[in-house]
Symmetry: C2
């Protein structure tokens, strides 16, 4: 999101000349998301001054599209009374997110100013652990008793439409709030000619729902799989607690994509954005993996130590050590990336394992042969001797084959064990192949350079 | 998506005993997505046999949730007439996707059997290039003239509700089909008490829309940013051509996440899923990057060749070459992953560049010092000499610092140049740091092991 510098001077001009009509028009002329974007360059104070000139609904809508850092800054620095009022008007899930990020002292000052109903709702929503369905859900949704008529449902929805996050599903409950069925706005509108039918007669009884403590990633998968606009959230007794709307699912999917990328890059997923993660937390989350990889890499030193006699006899072998291990690491990273991404997108499953491994071995054969050819030319150029130079293509072919093989097999193995295959980060796979690459290199060199007949 | 083996034996049993009622119940008892999932283990023939026993609407709904490979198999192998009928009933965007993947001869046989209206629509949708808004949009949506009344709009929507992909937005057009405004079902329902108002009076005039040739990733970003259920697609003259619904946006986001992961892993993004990509296309898409990385890695051989005198004087230095370069590569991969993911999620922007680089240098200092300490212990263990062993921690500190520095700077540089920062794949960054690592290692070794006073 890049801020649009075109509107900023005009906005500042309106502010300094107190052009109330101009600011009102600005707020109401475009989609609230666009207005929020145009105001990106304004300070918390200035933004609030602009928002004064429009009604509470538009003000809240624009505020809800600000970046979360700006929202928190406004909550923390502006007038407590006004902010408490704003908080009361925000969608339940949005305000809980903002309050979670705000200074606890400020929140303690604000809470008594928020109306009692909203306050209770905030406290309840805050109690759900981060990353669960409960923490993502909102509590404002259309709920109706299953015995109500279509006409009553239509009247109810017309009244509530302005306040609810989504009116596209009407959830039918019994007297103890158990989820009994769902009626889409589409079904309701189709029944407009039969106002006396009861909701229970036309509703869909097989409702897909999620448990309040279900992982948000699984919720997002379910919403995407069932093409739903909103997913009801229930407790253990199947009582309706809230709903998760598709726009929050989009946010969850973005979050999870970032986490997957971090796992693949051997960083323990950050809870927060990069800049908001405290320095030592960040250092720990990468340091632990870096240390594991470092200890693994120490094995390469031991492997080379084991072959030190051969390495001093054929000193030129040293030249190609980095080339050999990077070839294995790169081909392994590629295979792992392809297989992990295909697994997480649902393009392949464990049932395809044999097909995948066979395919990767053939790819390794082709790619390894080609790179080996380049390696042969380079080695011949440096050594001027066909016998020596042959060590390199043979090694590279075997190392690339190991790379594609382990790059495919290790993520599949993790998937089979019920672990996240992205834990098999590409640096981790590259590390395994580093050690293997040295063993292959030395074995090939010994075989080709010191045939048993000559050394005997 | 794992298939549920519980239902399969029952389904096969029903099929062999021709239990029509049982199969009908199975199709209608659960959400179509769940029914499709339960049928995953059935062949194309068997699936179609089960679907015979429910009405066309449920049949089409379940079919639309099958995996695309199964849909294509069914289209290609089952009765042409029946398939043509099914195609006519599918959502316009779904059927175009399936036909794109199907055998061209089969499509040529099927098309004349599809009703003329649908056929024209298919041909038009197929003409939009893959990856553009036009290729993702659907052409069935609620459209109404801006002068219609609320009552007419309600009547119209009640009639069309069953056939349209989304009725949650009603698009208002003028007589030449120019997009004039949008009315959400929410606004329409709120106006239920004023049936004589015209759509033009209550509609939202500031409609966010996308161009038909806009990139699908930008469309997905816009929908997510504006929290929309559907996005109208217009041509150059702002005529309404179709809409993109949020469920297709979810699919686009998944696709783009896979592509980003592939770029990060140094694979040119695949157009198709892993198993559907032809063997030589796959080999080319990874081979080109592997070759570039290989040529880069050849530089390490030249660097080592340059230092061959020093390496034969202090042979033990060879032991730590892989350790040194993998430390740099891993810390560089981590930084690059963090920065690229933060940039693509919009958590950081170019304005934060200085802050990011400063942060990464401090992280490098901390992580490099810690790894250097472990390295010192290992080197002392292998060499038994403090003077020699000191080369390793000094090198590792500098190499890790270079890793975090270049890992942060190169993606930022690419972003600045208007390129996709994910092109700075982690193997690419690791490759640059490999060469640099050897230069640093040799320079440190020369400085510490051969002080000018002794060598003079």
């Amino acid at each position: 999101m890049t801020s649009n510098p075109l509107y900023l001077p005009e906005l500042r001009e309106m502010l300094s000349s107190s052009d109330k009509e101009g600011m009102r028009e600005f707020c109401e002329a475009v989609h609230p998301a666009a207005a929020a974007e145009f105001m990106e360059g304004l300070s918390a104070d200035e933004s609030w001054a602009v928002l004064q000139h429009t009604g509470p609904a538009t003000r809240t809508a624009i505020f809800s599209f600000f970046e979360s850092a700006k929202q928190v800054e406004m909550i923390e620095t502006l007038d407590r009374e006004e902010m408490a009022e704003l908080i009361g008007e925000l969608a339940p899930d949005d305000r809980v997110d903002i309050l979670k990020d705000s200074d606890t002292e400020v929140v303690a000052e604000l809470m008594p100013l928020v109306p009692a109903d909203e306050r209770r709702d905030i406290l309840r929503l805050r109690s759900f652990p981060e990353g669960t369905a409960g923490a993502v859900m909102t509590t404002e949704f259309a709920r109706i008793h299953e015995t109500a008529t279509v006409q009553q449902a239509l009247d109810e929805i017309a009244v509530q439409a302005g306040q609810l996050e989504t009116i596209y599903y009407l959830y039918a409950v019994d007297t103890s709030d158990h989820l009994r069925g769902v009626l889409s706005a589409r079904q309701l509108l189709s029944a407009i000619g039969k106002p006396n039918l009861s909701v229970g007669e036309i509703m869909e009884r097989h409702v897909v729902s999620v448990d309040v403590d279900e992982d948000q990633e699984e919720v997002a998968d379910k919403v995407a799989r069932y093409d739903l606009l909103a997913m009801p959230v229930v407790d253990q007794e199947h009582r309706l607690l809230g709903i998760i709307t598709y726009d929050d699912v989009l946010d969850v999917m973005r979050e999870e994509a970032v986490e997957d990328a971090q796992r693949l890059g051997a960083v323990d997923p950050l809870q927060d954005s990069y800049l908001n993660t405290p320095f030592y937390t960040l250092a720990w989350k990468r340091g632990m993996w870096l240390t594991i990889l470092f200890l693994g890499a120490l094995l390469t030193a031991l492997a080379l130590q084991y072959y030190h006699v051969e390495l001093s006899r054929w000193e030129w072998l040293v030249l190609f050590i980095p080339l050999v291990i990077s070839s294995g690491g790169n081909s392994g990273s590629q295979s792992a990336t392809l297989i992990i991404a295909a697994l997480s997108a649902g393009h392949v499953s464990l049932g395809d394992s044999l097909k995948i491994v066979r395919r990767e071995l053939l790819q390794g054969l082709l790619l390894g042969s080609f790179l080996g050819l380049i390696g042969f030319v380079a080695a011949y150029g440096l050594r001027g001797n066909v016998g020596d130079a042959l060590v390199i293509p043979a090694t590279i072919l075997l190392v690339v084959l190991s790379g594609t093989f382990f790059g495919a097999v290790l993520p599949l193995l993790f998937e089979r064990l019920g672990q996240d295959p992205a834990l098999m980060s590409t640096p981790f796979i590259a590390g395994i192949i580093d050690v293997l690459g040295i063993l292959i290199y030395m074995t090939v060199a010994l075989t080709l350079l010191a045939p048993p007949i000559l050394s005997g």
